[in-house]
């Protein structure tokens, strides 16, 4: 482990604010993308990359690293910004999001971006990939852990439950699913579109240890990551209750900000708010 852990809550909050500002700037520059789900996932991703993951940005393919799979690939601005701030690639690359020839595609692309473990974007596939990584780790006697972030709407995909069943069956205690439970999907509230509730009970029924947390409370997030690591004999699902668009008042809990970039005036307003904290 060559990265230093940061478990200081005020520093993590400061880091998250930087990431959120990057997200707003990147999306405004790109003119398209997904602010809502990027902002809801930010604190969970920041806590992971600054306070939990065993990783080394100078050696993104280091065999013993912990793996993070962003199965809800549309939230990639949050991950790109975090990877850049962590040193996987220059922060200046963030300006190229979604442009022709950019290393930062509209959805994660492992062949173009250092630190991306698997290409994603087509929902429902990431947890299965994580199961494969976890099986490989067990087979090789390695101690690395696998974290997979899913959207709550994403869990409407049947494949998620195939993967949940497999992880439960194989008792993969080296995998942790993080459900960004912001309650909204493109067409509206998840409870109105195709409700995956009760989410915690479903994961328990598939043989997972379940932890429900406030996904914007860094202490709760870090505690949950630690509890997941300490839980043996079964995989852990962290159901993180989050706010879509978190940190930008006019985006918070508004479904239309799922997949719309802010215009320059909106971006200005959002950045001013984030600056104040």
């Amino acid at each position: 482990m060559l990265q230093s852990f940061c478990r200081d809550i005020s520093e993590l909050k400061m880091r998250a604010r930087i990431i959120r500002k990057h997200i707003i700037r990147m999306l405004a520059k790109a003119g398209s993308g997904h602010p809502g789900g990027s902002l809801s996932a930010t604190d969970l991703i920041v806590a992971l990359y600054y306070g939990k993951l065993n990783h080394d940005p100078r050696k993104p393919n280091w065999q013993d690293r912990d793996r993070f799979v962003l199965s809800k690939g549309h939230g990639c601005p949050a991950l790109y910004a975090t990877l850049a701030e962590r040193g996987y690639f220059p922060v200046s690359e963030l300006d190229t999001l979604r442009q022709f020839g950019s290393m930062l595609q509209g959805h994660p692309d492992m062949k173009r971006t250092p630190g991306i473990e698997i290409s994603s974007g087509s929902l429902g596939q990431g947890l299965s990939v994580g199961v494969g990584m976890a099986l490989a780790g067990r087979l090789d006697g390695k101690s690395y852990r696998v974290y997979v972030m899913l959207g709550d709407g994403e869990t409407e995909e049947g494949q998620v439950w195939e993967a949940a069943m497999a992880a439960g069956h194989y008792k993969l205690d080296n995998i942790c699913a993080i459900i960004d439970n912001n309650g909204l999907q493109i067409d509206g509230p998840i409870k109105d579109i195709l409700s995956p509730e009760p989410i915690p009970n479903k994961w328990r029924a598939f043989g997972w240890h379940v932890i429900v947390i406030n996904g914007h409370d860094f202490q709760q997030i870090l505690n949950a990551y630690d509890e997941a690591e300490e839980t043996k004999g079964m995989p852990t699902a962290i159901i993180a209750r989050t706010v879509k668009g978190k940190g930008v008042s006019f985006m918070e809990n508004h479904v239309e900000w799922h997949g719309k970039a802010p215009n320059p005036v909106e971006a200005e307003k959002a950045l001013a708010e984030l600056e104040k904290g």
Binding site: Q63, M110, K111, E117, I118, S119, S120, G121, S122, G124, Q125, G126, S128, V129, G130, V131, G132, M133, A134, L135, A136, G137, L139, D140, G158, Q159, E162, A163, M165, A166, H169, Y170
Partner: protein, 321 residues
């Protein structure tokens, strides 16, 4: 009489050999390990075998995850489920990421027999060939299956291998050279070339023998790799024989015939006829009965050769006028 072995049986044996040689080889199956014959591997190497249950989409991406960690996963089930059910997993994760996953599926074509249409993949070549950079292979017999499985394991990248349930005659020899992407001229001939894959290669050779007796010299090419397809051997055959018949156990849309036609239309337009399933689904029945019903027999190939030679002659005559 020629010995008959199903290509799926040869696969199970090849896996045992490979498993011994390379500890990175892992095998995944979706509750069909007895049918696909991966069960033999599971007995010999239980820790490297994962039965993923009746959940093909998850199985495909689990294989992808294993591949990111340096494993060489062989993923098996029936063709219809491997590349039908899990097509998008193969497209978006396995192939887009260039992962070293080998999809070796069995029960291709109507030769599945009694199970009927739901289990007879007749579109799988088209839908896998359409995926950029994916390698697509259909061996013609048990001997070639072993070579294909070994070659796939040595190749770094995703490969789809299409195998069959029913026993097929051994028509190749262990010492014959085999290279992914390189078609094999099995029989020389000046009048026409039959280009075939899989179980239809044996029928093509039978057709060529029948035609020999009629004084028609047919060349036969075993096009075991559907993608990347061997352009050179096709262009040479078109130039030398001036008429082509393709033969496959697959729908006519998007399969071997389409691939060959697309190349020759640009490189060397040549009269062609196509043996394959014409816009219909399969059904239950003995493989031989189904081959007759869907016009996949040696006699059907003979008829197609007569047709194409008629067109070749007409074309030559019209050029002289």
């Amino acid at each position: 009489m020629t010995e008959k072995i199903a290509t799926r049986v040869a696969y199970g044996k090849a896996l045992l050999e490979l498993g011994e040689k390379n500890t990175n080889i892992v095998v995944l199956d979706a509750d069909l390990s007895k049918s696909t014959t991966t069960a033999e591997f599971s007995k010999k190497f239980p820790t490297r075998f994962f039965n993923m249950g009746v959940a093909e989409a998850n199985m495909m991406n689990t294989a992808a995850g294993l591949a990111t960690c340096g494993k060489i996963p062989f993923v098996s089930t029936f063709c219809i489920f491997a590349v039908g059910r899990a097509w998008e997993q193969i497209r978006n994760t396995v192939t887009y990421c260039s992962l070293n996953v080998k999809i070796v599926a069995t029960h291709s074509g109507v030769a599945v027999g009694g199970d009927g249409s739901s289990h007879q993949a007749i579109e799988d070549i088209a839908i896998t060939r359409a995926i950029p950079t994916l390698t697509v292979i259909e061996p013609c017999d048990a001997v070639e299956t072993r070579k294909a499985v070994f070659a796939a394991s040595e190749y770094n990248g995703p490969v789809y291998i299409r195998l069959g349930r029913a026993p097929v005659p051994i028509i190749t020899k262990p010492e014959d050279e085999y290279k992914i992407g390189r078609g094999i001229l099995l029989k020389k001939g000046d009048d026409v070339t039959i280009v075939a894959c899989g179980a239809l290669v044996a029928n093509a050779l039978d057709a060529a023998s029948i035609l020999d007796n009629e004084g028609i010299k047919a060349a036969v090419i075993n096009m075991h790799t559907l993608k990347p397809i061997d352009k050179e051997i096709l262009i040479k055959a078109a130039k030398e024989t001036g008429a082509i018949v393709t033969a496959e156990q697959h729908v006519l849309d998007g399969g071997l015939g389409s691939a060959v036609a697309a190349i020759l239309a640009r490189e060397h337009p040549t009269p062609m006829e196509f043996i394959g399933i014409d816009n219909r689904f399969g059904q239950s029945g003995e493989p031989e009965v189904l081959f007759k019903h869907y016009h996949l027999t040696a006699q059907d190939i003979v008829n197609a050769v007569r047709q194409v030679i008629k067109r070749k002659v007409q074309q030559l005559q019209s050029l002289r006028v």
